[in-house]
């Protein structure tokens, strides 16, 4: 039953800066996510991965122009997110999908207790469930995630970053939405808390069998948590593959560079040489493959067009595989 939950067709988006100057954020994105899949999007900062999430959750700034089709399936009805108005989107939020934004642990109302934040989310989204039943559900959820019940009566500022992040993930999953978007949920956390969060996400995914879409620049988090990974560079998806396939047999030179740049504890790899170059700023719209200036294997054709090579689920945009 692998019908598609999210389907994006040649999505283009750019920020209007001033006058006619605009910065390209997303350049012709095509992406599919199947039901119950734990998909991941990896890429450096500035590669457009956060902009993509902002488009999907309809929380992009007004200065952003968008073209293309973004279809989300909810209760086997397809909604094109871009055509919906604010009220329709608001009626879908936290039911069709929930969204943990970047640095979510610093965006809790300082004037409210944790339990109030949970209760108000319930009231706005699920009229059927009564409060006592929900309170019980909330306390159990906190307990088996290792946060003691009494934290519910704390104000957010008294909890540590790691605890707040786990509370927010619970908040995002407690009403069992169809899709759960997560933007950099592990960044800024300590090693042990990061491991807790990743294991929490895995348990939630097995328990709810809803679809997860995780965005982070840390490829090792993708290796541990996701089933399918899309690598983004300068506003484009350059490679997509199931996680095991991608890490054991990376095709795109950029993916190889990303994976190599992560030191492996115990793996005697020694010094990793890197030529000094600029990070992927997408302001300059380049002809052909955007990675050609940084690519050690660049060939002349890279400057003109980009060939898409597909083998089963593994897809890569690179002229090296133009056989």
């Amino acid at each position: 039953m692998n019908e598609k939950v999210i389907e994006i067709e040649n999505l283009k988006a750019y920020y209007r800066i001033s006058g006619n100057i605009n910065v390209l954020a997303l350049d012709d994105i095509n992406l599919e996510v199947k039901k119950g899949e734990f998909a991941g999007i990896a890429g450096e900062s500035g590669s457009g991965k956060t902009s993509l999430l902002k488009v999907l959750t309809h929380s992009f700034p007004s200065s952003m122009e968008i073209k293309g089709k973004v279809v989300i399936n909810f209760r086997d009805k397809n909604f094109d997110v871009l055509t919906l108005n604010e009220d329709q989107i608001q009626s879908l939020r936290w039911k069709a999908w929930s969204y943990v934004p970047q640095a979510a642990m610093n965006s809790l109302n300082p004037m409210a207790k944790i339990k109030d934040i949970f209760l108000e989310t319930l009231e706005s989204n699920d009229k059927t469930m009564n409060r006592d039943e929900f309170r019980k559900k909330m306390e159990d959820a906190f307990e088996n995630v290792g946060l003691s019940k009494q934290f519910l009566n704390f104000y957010a500022s008294r909890l540590s970053g790691g605890m707040r992040q786990r509370a927010i993930i619970l908040l995002a999953t407690i009403l069992k939405p169809n899709i759960i978007f997560l933007d950099e949920p592990t960044t800024g956390l300590d090693l042990i808390t990061q491991k807790d969060v990743i294991q929490l996400l895995q348990n939630m995914h097995d328990e709810l069998n809803s679809t997860f879409l995780l965005v982070t620049h840390d490829v090792s988090v993708h290796a541990q948590a996701t089933d399918f990974v899309h690598i983004m560079y300068a506003g484009q998806i350059v490679e997509s593959a199931p996680t095991k396939e991608l890490f054991h047999n990376p095709l795109h030179p950029y993916t190889k560079e990303l994976i190599n740049s992560v030191p492996i504890i115990g793996g005697k790899r020694g010094r990793i040489e890197q030529n000094i170059r600029i990070s992927s700023s997408i302001a300059n719209s380049v002809q052909g493959c955007k990675f050609k200036d940084r690519c050690p294997y660049a060939i002349p054709s890279c400057g003109k067009y980009v060939y898409t090579y597909k083998k089963g689920d593994h897809e890569v945009k690179c002229n090296l595989y133009e056989s």
């Binding site: 290792g146 540590s160 300590d190 541990q224 790899r269």
Partner: protein, 347 residues
């Protein structure tokens, strides 16, 4: 004046039983031990990795060494002189000798001030160079040392990327020819793929200029990479303000002694999707309460916790070149000990 060369047996930096207490809330708040009885030595040209979770006191310790904070008890000696007791003119020499590198590259330089202004000021204030030609020459040498070739004259912070700014921050510190660099989470804000470039620079500086570096990080994989790059490297693991383990680089990763160090190494997400975690962590009460525990601070999370751990704070035992603060090793002085061998025979 501090003597130029240091006597052979004297360490570059000696931290002796240093503690730092803060009051939570002014005047009447409860005492809070951010750094609790920390001691270690650092020699010329040696790299020290200070590893620990956020809030374990590593930044407070770095501020103590930089002279920004004064220790509540114990003292810190730099080239034989106690830092908190330096006279005015010695303070200026001291600032030249120890330079910091900060975490956030974007706020290292004032956004309204040209970046090269800082370089000129360092040269003028520390009498490194007088005329412009000499200053420019000094600036270009340090820029080469950090492999930074773009022109920086007249440019502002927003005209550089994060990686470039961090290189400039290192270059600024090198101008005074320091003998100790303190890098507090220097690569945390840099993109993962560009991080390795910066770490290579630190390793080269250590080799070429025999420059001692205290590298503070919460990320073990960064630590491991530094160990691979340089030989003379020592690692200290801190937990809730206390040193729980001190060991030479390779042996800490190959054979971690303290349970906390083991748990840290285990929690690093591996790049290979097949290597999955199997253990889950024991969850614990608020971190703040752990600071003031009188027994071992790690007792609440430790899988091998014994009742003595609850009552008494374990001493820092030295086992060969390593030191560990854990009751598991208390009555066994055997050198090549690992936790598995210990727990196997039911200790």
């Amino acid at each position: 004046m501090i003597k130029e060369e240091t006597k052979l047996e004297e360490h570059l930096l000696e931290v002796v039983n240093v503690s730092k207490y803060f009051r939570s809330g002014s005047y009447l708040g409860t005492k809070f031990k951010a750094v609790d009885d920390v001691s270690f030595n650092l020699d010329k040209g040696e790299i020290l990795l200070l590893i620990g979770e956020s809030g374990c006191g590593k930044t407070t310790l770095s501020n103590l060494i930089l002279g920004i904070l004064k220790p509540s008890s114990g003292f810190i000696k730099y080239k034989g002189k106690i830092i908190s007791k330096l006279r005015r003119n010695e303070k200026k020499y001291f600032i030249r000798e120890i330079q910091p590198i900060f975490q956030d590259p974007y706020s290292t330089f004032n956004p309204f001030v040209r970046v090269d202004y800082y370089f000129k000021e360092v040269c003028l204030n520390f009498g490194i160079a007088k005329e412009n030609s000499e200053i420019d020459q000094k600036i270009s040498t340090v820029l080469n040392q950090v492999k930074m070739n773009t022109e920086i004259k007249g440019k502002f912070t927003h005209q550089f990327s994060g990686g470039q700014l961090q290189r400039l921050s290192i270059a600024r510190a090198l101008l005074t020819k320091p003998s100790l660099l303190i890098a507090d989470e220097a690569v945390t804000m840099i993109d993962a793929s560009l991080r390795v470039g910066i770490l290579n620079i630190f390793a080269d500086l250590n080799k070429d200029l025999n420059l001692a570096i205290i590298f503070i990080s919460h990320d073990l994989s960064v630590g491991y990479y530094m160990v691979e790059l340089s030989e003379k490297i020592k690692i200290i693991v801190m937990y809730r303000g206390t040193v729980v383990e001190e060991a030479p680089g390779e042996s800490l990763f190959a054979n971690p002694l303290h349970p906390y160090t083991r748990q840290l190494i285990e929690s690093v997400p591996s790049i290979d999707p097949d290597r999955k975690w199997h253990s889950t962590t024991k969850h614990v009460v608020l971190e703040l309460e752990e600071f003031n525990l009188n027994g071992c601070k790690y007792v609440k999370r430790c899988p091998f916790a014994m009742d003595i751990c609850e009552k008494e704070d374990p001493p820092l035992l030295s086992l060969g070149k390593s030191k560990v603060r854990c009751w598991l090793y208390a009555n066994v002085k055997d050198k090549n000990l690992t936790i598995d061998s210990l727990t196997k025979n039911g200790k």
